[in-house]
């Protein structure tokens, strides 16, 4: 598959089964989103959880009414049942299936949340000439559980998960400036330097993703991560839930620049 498809072309290729798997690197310049689909019985609490924890859980868009399969503000043709390359189906907090289409298990009470993802700000960092280590090393970004508690909402609770990117201090300052422009995709980092200060005992042991090289003179910079809501959902164990599989995102028609507040 060409990575130069338009978002609509890629969504068509996903729906037809022509494109499977990771969306990383596809449709550069367009916002990609994490996916959380919950029964309406959980949706109000989950929205409140996102509102209370906007840095790890930035809501870019959500469906209007329970059962709605479209979200026209992210793409006129969007269909949540067929436009994600791979879905994970969860029951009572357990992963029970991975599928490429959820049309047959769709229900009239399901509510879709699309959450911002770091791809948008990583593109801005690269455009500014900064090295993003997980990209230059061809790895998944390293992610860690922290001791920073999220504010709970109903059944949803847990600690913040962070992604980590190493930079020299002067580059970290520039990275903070650039990411500050993108509050809807996790915004400014929440910590840098000493990993133990936020409960990370070994920077070489990730909880999700891959470890990356930290060179002499670089400091680890920690950003609130979209895995946080997934961890909160696993802890809440809703009777039914669907998420995207890691890296298999919703690709929207929204230019990344629209996520910049300035």
């Amino acid at each position: 598959m060409s990575t130069n498809l338009t978002p609509a072309q890629l969504r068509d290729a996903i729906a037809s089964g022509e494109h499977k798997g990771n969306t990383s690197g596809y449709c550069p310049g367009f916002v990609q989103c994490n996916v959380v689909i919950l029964p309406k019985a959980y949706a109000d609490d989950f929205l409140k959880f996102c509102q209370l924890n906007p840095k790890p859980c930035p809501v870019v868009a959500m469906s209007g009414n329970p059962g709605d399969t479209g979200i026209p503000e992210i793409a006129p043709d969007f269909d949540i049942r067929r436009h994600v390359p791979e879905y994970r189906v969860w029951k009572n907090g357990e992963l029970v299936d991975e599928v490429n289409d959820i049309s047959e298990i769709w229900r009239d009470d399901l509510v879709t949340f699309l959450l911002g993802c770091s791809f948008s700000f990583e593109e801005a960092l690269l455009a500014d000439g900064l090295e993003v280590r997980n990209i230059s090393e061809g790895k998944n970004v390293p992610m860690y559980d922290t001791n920073i508690a999220c504010r709970p909402a109903g059944v949803f609770h847990g600690n913040t998960v962070v992604s980590m990117r190493p930079f020299k201090p002067a580059d970290a300052i520039r990275m903070i400036q650039i990411c500050s422009r993108f509050p809807a995709v996790h915004g400014a980092p929440i910590h840098f330097g000493d990993p133990e200060a936020i409960g990370i005992s070994d920077i070489n042991k990730t909880n999700y993703g891959d470890a990356v090289t930290i060179n002499e003179g670089e400091v680890p910079v920690f950003t609130a991560c979209g895995v946080t809501p997934q961890a909160a959902i696993m802890a809440a164990k809703p009777d039914f839930c669907i998420t995207h599989s890691p890296g298999c995102m919703v690709v929207t028609d929204i230019p990344n620049s629209k996520m910049a507040v300035l």
Copy 2:
């Protein structure tokens, strides 16, 4: 003297000799400036030096023609000869006098530069609820020579001088965001963390100002400092030069908020 004077009232009190010494804490909310006065033979090179090194040497205003004593854009009544509480007079790079009025030594070839000062961004940090350690400890901000070379211009050359304020990492991130809004008063910091990385061998030994406490879990954050141009002038040894005495600044009619780009 009340610190609630208007800038014009304070300038009058300075001109009459009623107010002497430090302007720190006076006229909160208004821009204060560092002062450099040079013969026109040096002025073009000094302006170029500032242009090439905008973070340590941000020009807020300069006089229009050699010999001009007013700078109307900073205050309609401004008179550079009488509105600084204490001046330092330099000859061939040596401090030869400290005076409260330069009317008698004023020359028709002198050019005045007013450079941004950290008071403006410190006020914004305090307003945001951050602790500025040099203020809470009642000290002059600690300043250090670094190994970061300025770009030279004519006779002017030297290394960047930095000021240092310690913060916890999360507060340092907020400090970077706030200071980024104020490029005309040194802007974002240029380094944080390891002092040796920028040539500072002992953080407890300042080159200018006073050492401040750095608590467990805090990192030193380094900002380009307005002492840099003074160090460059001392190195250049112009035959004649006037500066303000440390802390005895020009108080302008410009609200600090006008220095914010956003």
